[in-house]
Amino acid sequence: MPRMPRPCGAGCGALSFLGFGLKRRIEIGILYSRSGSYQLVSDACRMGAMRAIADINADRNYGIELVPIERDPQSNADRYATLCEDIFKTSSARHVVGCVTSWSRKETIPVLEKAGGMLWYACPYEGFEANEHVVYMHACPNQHLVPLMAHVVPRFGLNGFLLGSNYIWGWEMNRVARDLIADAGGKVLGERYLRIGETDVSRLIAEIRATRPNFILNNLIGTSSYAFLAAYRELSDEDAAFRPENCPVISCNLTEGELPAIGETGKGHLSVGPYFAPRPAAFASSFEASAYASVQVMADVLSRDADAGTAEFSKAFAERRFSTRLGPIAIDAHSQHATLPVIIGRIADGFFEVVSREDEVAPDPYLSRYDPAKTFGRPRLRVVS
């Protein structure tokens, strides 16, 4: 692979004098939406990236100064590719930290391939992708959905109701969930999708009330998710069978960043992620922590070789572990996915209490090592007459 070109532009190759030494200025793209239905998540990621940039620029151990080149797609999936292209055309940046939805990530990939750029993706996603122009810094299914289901099924029951926003995250997560539930011996009692931003959840609630599942897998995002949790809380007030201790709502992307929007209605429900904020916390959520760690790993490699291209990054991933604020991180050189902790958290008063934790879970984005017997124990014996 070619080394990443650094055409002469603003800041390219320039050295800045920061009091204690010369730092090479390196422009990096920041592609997070500042408005729209999933703004809270987007803001958390942006906050992590910007904090890392500020910390690295102030740290004399790094011989580089990172210069953010920001674009705001305003939660419009069609704007990510064009704005990513704009970053590459108008600056020397070849690394972009950005994208929240899988839809936007997939839209951006052709631009990255054309420009030889690299996307640092700091959100959980549905797996089954390993592009060499993307570094996947948050959890994939064997680091979120599989351990979450393995935790929930023996404690709450086999039968699930699947919800999702109507795009690839919900579709693919629920597809894997259908298989997991079947492998566990359970049934999918319903599978429903809402368009992104939809807040009318009355039909979902009526169906859940009628089918009485043991748990609900929530792949709704943003405002749809908040509306659902609020309505589900009302349902649980009417019928104790739907209280979190009996029928929890489980999520693979719910973090502290959204707790203020959810308020009391989320209490007792479960989520999984590589980080839940301790008190006091270095980061407000795993999105912020992953975006911060993304910039840290990127800066670590670039500070040793400012012109590092995909081949140099791949070599660094194969040979090194990275010390980050998220903890020591290894990145699988083949799939470019991070080895991460898997933590299951229960929503308490404005934070997550840790229910279980497993450290250093290696990524398996294609679930190639998934073993139903290991995940759900011995198959249940059915009584036959």
């Binding site: 391939e113 079947a182 398996d364 984005p365 294609y366 090592r369 998934y370």
Partner: protein, 200 residues
Amino acid sequence: MTRTPRIPNLGGARAFILHRPHPTVQAITRQLSAIGLITLDCWPELPPEALAADFVFFDADLGFDEQFPWKPGEAPMPLVALIGSEAPGRIEWALSHKADAQLLKPVGNAGVYSALLIARQSFEARKHLAGEIASLRQRVAERQTIVRAVAALSKGSDDERAYAQLRSLAMSWQISVEDAARRIVAMTDEEGGDDQSHRA
């Protein structure tokens, strides 16, 4: 009711890449490793271990029959053709090997995963169909046996009742109608001193 497993279990599967040393091999190897397969590349011949492979990727541009330890079209595993030149002769040759999926060269950052799944499904469907055709051929070949069995059971009277009797015998013996017919013909032949199979 059977349920097709949907999480494709590809972990630890072995894939041979039959291609001369080339960036194409690296690109495929990278994707296969990311998916979780064990890859082995070789050129110009497939080694004996390839007979136990789960997948074989082969070069359609420079490939030739003698590379494979099986006859064209009889590969015991799914094949993926790596097509660079779209020369008709080369495509024809790749087709003669019954490639189950294809990847166009140069291979980029994607395509291998879908090629694996498509190749596996096509191969399984082809194998299933071949088995079904063989079984149907065998049944067709037993037409004359059935006619003889019905004749033996009817003893010159009602053929319909004789055929119904043959079916009910097959059911009670829990074998196919053809096997039941063969058994009846054999018994009749034994009685008549003739012990030959009668196939059309």
